[in-house]
Symmetry: D2
Subunit: 335 residues, 4 copies
């Protein structure tokens, strides 16, 4: 049994993570922390949650665990990561703190100096299907953002082929849990219900540099992304509709062959059949990424759907942990 | 043209009120105030709102108006009411401040000493259909709460007949705008969507004493109420399902005759036909109250629906203003 | 391993049942049938469903199983039950066909002659917590309706004490999946969203005789029920708010002691603490029934919540199967 | 007063149209028809609808009206249009029958031979802002589809400038009323709620030829469109996010100047300020089209929102009627 702890249990990713971990056949959840709700039990926060006690982070028995998951605000997370690593505990960080390799880029987008720049090169960017070879040795895994997970899994086969040479249009639609659990005007039920809102359109969302960083790793002459996230009146789910110009050597059949070859054996990646587009209904409450492919007029239209809280956060975090500890990557995860 | 102002324009009732007033054929909206958004225009707060400037309440030209509507938190509202009355301006108060006639009861339920107890006896409790004779002379109208509006309109005909002698069960279901616009954990989209929550069950909600006060005005040997409000994952609408024991002299036909007689000429009260129950769809975006009647096993089941923001707040406020100024009670109101 | 089949896999209860069965550690799902979709696989109907083939019911290898679950329309279900029993297969019927013990009552409420009245006395009414002693020997279990499950679990402790002597008010609120998957005007998204609708108010819903039948089993001088179901704009969840007059020998403390005593060891029944009311959020995606208790003015207010598809249908069906085969009653069920 | 009739009153566009017409200060609604509900009144279909009787279409007194609105299925609509025109009545057709000028294209996309090809050249494609000069003389107006309205209003200023030379990406998101009122599996509440679904992705939706036809009218060297509609869990509203490559002579400021110049005096077109994107909340329950503009990396991102039932159907139909009869184009329309 892998002994783990969760730091920051009372947000949506913390809750989802704990649900996965308590049912994971090879995990022993040693503790879950919350600053604001320490002393209570998790069902006091989420009535149907597993009955786990919440302790103060200062009292977390880090040394009794082999790994901790950090579900904390950015900047705060990196500091706890340092403590955990110092205590010899492996870290899966669900915040943005270790996703960008460049401290200046981090500062530009997150507005604070990076608290632990010395760790940036070591951190593994945990898009599991892309980096699983690096995970068994990793001390520190930066769990990808929800939007980047949907986009990068959809684009990687083509990027690896150096098939993309012009600006990629990414039009994404996310459920509201992606905005976090802290009440804001923009997440008030009356403001969201019946509405559909683009936000941070173009090149203004923090997930843009994270996506472009990975694109640049994987391809020569990396294309720019245009990224338009939209808030959908649904609690969970994330769909990216992606438009890629391909040259005339590509048709839908050839694209489909590529994706079938790359992803045919992936447990969690479902390449949909011809004419089928990915929806939230393909993936919600699972660790899947469903990918639909349509090509017309030289443009490949990818629909890539994930559950933002599972494959886009806590599920992928568990998948990374599974790979780090050398157990079946699918263990404890809803397929 | 009646010259009016709105104090507190950036909540849901303020917005709805301004929508009604700018289209009202006999009203001139002179100003709308907001502390937090002064200097902006209303569409900056609600994109589809009428293009009305927001001014600081301190700069409101009270004296240029004949009436003001107060859409303010309780306790704050009463203080502004005093100022307006002193300036010779009539007041329709949408807060709870002048609904209860007894200052001690107010203090018990609202947790603060009443700021203007000397006005409590003068204030008219503005359930329009019940008090329209008093409105032309009124300086100060206390606009009823949303739950009481749905319940009291449904019960009044029977109370006037002294037909109710035992505890009345009121099971109410409200859309989320009834909880106000300030973001709270309980109004976060992800917490509300897909959920249905009773709250303040029994005799714990502030609208209980307001309802029992009116019941005691209208009937001898006033029955107690049991009141269970529920939060519904919908932005607006309010339904009260009410259970009343009647003695054997009553059957559904006799009840129906009573309601048809009392409400047959009311523009906004729709007594539904046999077998039809009231729903949000009967009333949303209108100033209606729809009332369904079913009797079985000696129990009358009333379903009483209103739009909580219109008949339950801003629409009834306009209806009261219409009656105060002696114009057609339906003017400017969606039937 | 218990070998089972599902007859009628493409409705909401069929889907939920199959999700539970494929993850059940002691069950082997041998087949799932569908008349209209035979030859396809379940994900063609529900994209995230387990990848189970759908066969024609005529080809179902009944004899290879020990039990079948029937998720069929009423009247059709009873006929298949006869075939299964004749083949020596035990039956858990999720339709209404074997819930009422009296064939005339069945005909009155369901509009058809009962297809197998000879089985009515044998069928066990499978409210698991109430009948578990009878399940190991049962050949045929009638899985209770969703509304009755929420109401009867809430009332049974008091009925067993003969504490209820007057009409009980049941005000229930159900998510839309309770209305089935067949598209109807009343389940169209645009008609439901933002709406809240009572229907079959009073004594007009088919679940009324089912509830009153059980009430009469359990108490002397059985009280009548008044039952008002409401349709809620949510996909799943069911809450019954129940009003019971108790004599002066009862107070909330004594009621609470009773419920704690009766349900303290039940895995799936959660008696909530003082001041807490049951919501969909307590139970959705679990096999729980959450019960809140509040007493005031001589009236006990019970809030009883279940997931209509799990404890109100497929989860309880699995719980019944577990008890029938003598395995842990909680096996394979989300707690 | 303009005397009008509505043929087909019981769908969502019919209802919305009647709501507008009964409040229109210069219109007299003479009749509303329904085949299936003739003899009933409109509130029997939609509880809060205006109290208008429904008559059989065969009894519609066409000759007493100056114009009729057709809210009928395609192919059926054209036949009624012929009758109305023969009776000397002007027609605003909300179906697709007269949108495409080429009968073969119509047959290809709608699967039936066109019932009245002789009228195709005469019909005015009623995107009001683009064709208002032609409306006073028009006998037959083809009201545009909802998607085309949002897209064409957004693109027209650039097309008129011949500024678009490469494939345009249109990613649209529509509320469910756009799918009509007839219950289908895809509009069942449980299937839609919490889901987000692309459909007819690429070049497969019937509104594509309608859009490309207009694009070809307005620009040389007309670009192709890629069109991906998505179904959003909301009852109404339509947003198109449109991606256009512009050459280096264009920047956001120049684009904005163009749109301000073209649309600055339009009552219903709101060009949003810098940094603001269009949402459903800008337009629902109004006849507005809100357009947001963002330019980055040589790509102009347009967000164009309408209420699909108003500006996308019934509101634009009334706007067209206003222009046809030479009255104020905004009469009777919510701004």
């Amino acid at each position: 049994m892998i002994k783990v702890g969760v730091i920051g249990a009372t947000g949506y990713t913390g809750l989802e993570l704990i649900r996965l971990l308590v049912h994971h056949p090879q995990v022993n959840l040693c503790f879950a922390t919350s600053k604001s709700r320490a002393g209570e039990r998790l069902p006091a926060v989420f009535p149907s949650a597993p009955d786990v006690p919440l302790i103060d982070p200062a009292e977390a028995p880090l040394k009794d665990t082999q790994a901790v998951f950090l579900c904390l605000p950015h900047a705060e997370s990196a500091q706890v990561a340092v403590q955990a690593l110092d205590a010899g505990v492996r870290v899966v960080d669900l915040s943005a703190d270790f996703r960008l390799r460049d401290a200046k880029t981090y500062q530009k987008w997150y507005g604070v100096e990076h608290p632990a720049p010395e760790l940036l090169q070591e951190a593994v960017y945990g898009l599991t299907e892309a980096v699983r070879a690096d995970l068994p040795a990793a001390r520190l895994v930066a769990n990808p953002g929800c939007y980047p997970t949907s986009v990068l899994l959809a684009l990687k086969p083509l990027l690896d082929e150096n098939a993309i040479h012009s600006t990629v249009i990414v039009d994404s639609k996310s459920g509201v849990s992606g905005a976090g659990r802290k009440p804001k005007q923009t997440t008030h039920f009356v403001e969201v219900d019946g509405n559909l809102s683009p936000y941070n359109v173009g090149r203004a969302h923090r997930h843009l540099p994270e996506m472009e960083q990975a694109v640049a790793w994987w391809t020569d002459d990396a294309p720019a992304l245009i990224f338009s996230p939209h808030l959908v009146p649904a609690p969970r789910g994330l769909l990216s509709t992606i438009y890629v110009h391909l040259d005339s050597s590509w048709d839908e059949k050839k694209v489909r062959q590529l994706y079938d070859r790359i992803y045919g054996n992936e447990a969690f990646i479902h390449v949909l059949s011809q004419g089928e587009a990915a929806t939230y209904a393909h993936v919600n409450h699972t660790n899947r990424c469903a990918i639909g492919l349509t090509m017309t007029e030289g443009v490949l239209i990818l629909t890539s759907a994930i559950d933002n809280l599972i494959k886009g956060a806590s599920g992928q975090a568990v998948q990374n942990m599974n790979a780090m500890f050398g157990i079946d990557e699918t263990a404890g995860l809803p397929g």
